[in-house]
Each structure stands twice: as structure tokens, then as C-alpha cells.
Subunit: 259 residues, 2 copies
């Protein structure tokens, strides 16, 4: 039997990694991961063969993981967050699908047993750090137009607006992309108040974490980098201050029962 | 210092509970939780004071947790999944907000230190069990109209349609609610193919888990109960079959690079 684990290791804090993820890594001889992701895992990765590829080489990484597993090495393909959310899992199945259609030359992939282990995603870590920002219906939108036409992304932001979803923007900016986030802000401002609370969470749950709560009107791409999650509340999200502590929550509507 | 942990324990599998959640429970003398949620946690709950309230008594449960913590007992308010997603966390902050506005009579709540610990939500467990269903932009919609007017919910389903988001329906049916899910299906059918893959995941990651992959046209509320997650793919989600194994994934768009 050949086995590939596809593993998400959570937002950063080693205490937010599921035991099942650790078990999968322990059971593997080979790890395919961007180097930084392994740092938080520490000792459990010792003695494993580590295969690194530069950021951006996603297809190569998924292919390598399938190849290693097909060659009989129990392998873990690892990313931070939830590997099923804007990460490597879907690429493994895209490759498998291509092979099933005869468009790849790796029939041995079809014998690999695949197990996906989910993880806590950045939006969840961010929501928890500021209270309960995802308390009601929400959506996620990736602002990267490398693989998705901007037209599609823009349509989704409008839909997030008409539906009044809490919106978490993944890949909000990169070195080469800086205008999308401000455009997204301007679109959402057509649908919800300028005072809508926004979470700017950088390096969430990591030692150098920084968290800012601002308003939608104040959101500016220049304050955001590729390690940042941006979550925008819905029209009912509340920013409350209790002494030195501040929170954002999105009500489910219990208020009418409370009063 | 008085402390309240607000803790999500994941979809069911004890191996998907974050160590941080276990630590929070260990540090607490009092647990406020619906009884079933504690079963998966096992021994770590032994010797703790367990406060149970019937399902439906959400406000009472949040109030009790704040009261216990304010009285000096380190308390954990617990739910399955991610307690920040359609669960108790937001209610704690709704109560706190009411107190800050002078609409409650519990100023002692304001001295409670609150820490929210996120967990893996059902949609993530479901997506992982069938592959990578949440591989691209997605949203969640609760179909419960107890606290949200149906008009708002319907608008959100239309927005999920126009945005072509993968949609996870939480609270799809209950004993008293059975028509909403079929209406939601009919709305989505206006926007995406009848062959769109749908995941019906019941008791995900638990011993009695059942998973079915059907099409959007086949989705019927009679096959769904309150322990079930329903996730509907977007217009590009693919259902693939490899021998005895079947998968659903939502592509990110690497295909054009693959060919």
C-alpha cells in the first residue's frame, strides 16, 4: 500500500495543530512542504526526508508528493492553515483527475491511498482572537488573480456585498499585486457602512502576531502584506470596547430575545 | 482574575481536537456544555463540575458561563465544531455588549478575561473526507429562520448563486423545519448545473459517520437531518471516481497550467 497524507497544520500556534496531523507526520518517512511550515512543528519532523520547493512551485510540490507516495514512501504533503482551503489539497485531486482522463503519464498515482487532514484556517484564528467575527453567515474570497480572472473575483465581492456576508480576504496582496484590496474595499462600501469593523491580522497566533481593528473606510492595501488576513464584518458586526480590551462579534440575532 | 474559555472541540473525532482546547478544559473547574459534546473528550472532563442545559437554551448557557467565571470559577463554555461559527461564542459577546450598554445587570461580567479557542468546523471535516471541496471561494449559510428572517436567508442563497460560491448549509433542517433546504436547492439550480456535486455528511468523523455524494438535482430534505452537513459545489466542482474511491474537489484553476 502506498499512502499520501495531505495535512493542514493550522494557523501557526503549535497548540492549534490537531493530533491527527501530528500522527500523519509521524507515520510518514517523507515530508513535502515549504520550509517555514515545518518550523512550528518542531521535533516531530526530525529524521524525516524533507522535500522543499520554492513558493510558487505548487504544481511541482503536489506532483512530487504523489510520486513519492506512489514509489512506496509514506508521504505527508503539508501546508499551514487548512490544506483544503486555498492550499495544496485541491491540486492533488486536480492532478489525479488529469491522470484519470489520461492527460498525465503517472498511472501509479491511482494506487495511492489519500487521506486529507483538515486544520484551523486563518479566518478562524482571527475571528477567535477578536471574539466572534464569524458568528453569522460568511464567505471567503481570494484576491489572487493569478489563476482566477479578476472579473470573477469582482463578481464574487459584489455577491458578498448583496448577501451581506462577513468576508475574509485570502491572498489580499502580494509583492506584485497591490490594487485589488482597495478595489474590494470600494465595492463593499457600496453595500455596507463605512464604519463596518475590519480585522487586520498579521502572523496570527505566531510570536510576532499583530492585530488591528479598523473600519472599512480605513482599510488600505499599504497596511497589509501577504502574511495578513483581512476579515470584513457584515452590516451588523459590532466593535465593542471593554476597558483595555476590544472585541468584534457578528450577532446571530439573539438580541431581540435578550431584551 | 476570573477567566472564561470559549472552546470549540472540532467535528467529533477526538484526534481533531486542538491541544489548546484540551488545555483550556484542564485549566477549568467548571464546564458548560450540552452533554453530548463532552463524550468525545473523555477523561479530561473527569472531576469537573458539568453544567448542562437543554438544547435551545443557548442564552441561558452563555449567561451561566459568564456568571460562573465572574464568581471566580475558571470556566470553559464548550461546543463542538468551531465555537465561533454558528455557535456560542457570539452569544457571549452579545451579552457583554448588552452589559456595556447597561441593558443587563451583571457588571461583574466586565471583569472576566475571555479567551476563544477555535476548532475545525463540520464543513472542513466534510471537505477533507471527500477530497478538497472547499478548494476555492466558499460561503456558509445557516438555514435556521428562528433568529434570521427567511427573506435575509433567501437573499444570501441568491448571492451564493450569483457569486458561484461553494455553499455549506448549516442547520439544514430540524424537526420543525423541513422546506428550507429544498427551496435553497431550487434557488441554487437557477445558477449552477443540476449535476453539481453535493456532499451529504452525517455525523462527520464520528463512529457512525455516513457520507454520500449526490447531485444538486437529487438533493432532498427528506435525506437530511440535524446532524447532517450539506455542502454544494460551485459550477466547476468535480466528482471523480478512482476504482472504489470517489472524490469531490473544487479546482483553483491550475488546469490551464497543467496542460
Amino acid at each position: 500500500m502506498t499512502k499520501l497524507f495531505v495535512v493542514g497544520t493550522g494557523p501557526g500556534d503549535a497548540n492549534l495543530v490537531a493530533p491527527k496531523a501530528i500522527e500523519a507526520i509521524k507515520a510518514s518517512s517523507d515530508l513535502v512542504a515549504y520550509g517555514l511550515y515545518l518550523e512550528i512543528l518542531g521535533g516531530v519532523c526530525d529524521g524525516k526526508q524533507h522535500h522543499d520547493l520554492p513558493l510558487g512551485e505548487e504544481i511541482g510540490r503536489a506532483r512530487l508528493a504523489l510520486d513519492l507516495a506512489a514509489a512506496g514512501k509514506t508521504t505527508a504533503l503539508i501546508s499551514s492553515g487548512d490544506i483544503g482551503i486555498y492550499a495544496m489539497a485541491t491540486l492533488v485531486f486536480e492532478l489525479l483527475d488529469q491522470q484519470l482522463q489520461g492527460k498525465e503519464n503517472s498511472p501509479e498515482w491511482l494506487d495511492v491511498e489519500i487521506e486529507v487532514v483538515p486544520g484551523i484556517s486563518a479566518m478562524q484564528a482571527g475571528a477567535a482572537r477578536v471574539g466572534a467575527m464569524l458568528g453569522h453567515d460568511f464567505c471567503t474570497v481570494s484576491l489572487s488573480d493569478l489563476l482566477t480572472p479578476w472579473q470573477t473575483i469582482e463578481k464574487r465581492i459584489h455577491s458578498a456585498g448583496t448577501g451581506d456576508f462577513v468576508v475574509s480576504f485570502y491572498n489580499p496582496v502580494s509583492k506584485k499585486r497591490d490594487w485589488q484590496l482597495n478595489t474590494a474595499r470600494d465595492i463593499l462600501l457600496q453595500y455596507r457602512p463605512a464604519t463596518t469593523p475590519v480585522l487586520i491580522g498579521r502572523q496570527l497566533t505566531r510570536p510576532d502576531e499583530s492585530i488591528k481593528i479598523i473600519t472599512l473606510a480605513e482599510l488600505d492595501a499599504k497596511d497589509v502584506d501577504m502574511f495578513t488576513l483581512v476579515s470584513v464584518g457584515n452590516s451588523e458586526s459590532r466593535h465593542i470596547v471593554n476597558g483595555s480590551k476590544e472585541w468584534v462579534y457578528t450577532p446571530r440575532g439573539y438580541k431581540k430575545k435578550l431584551i
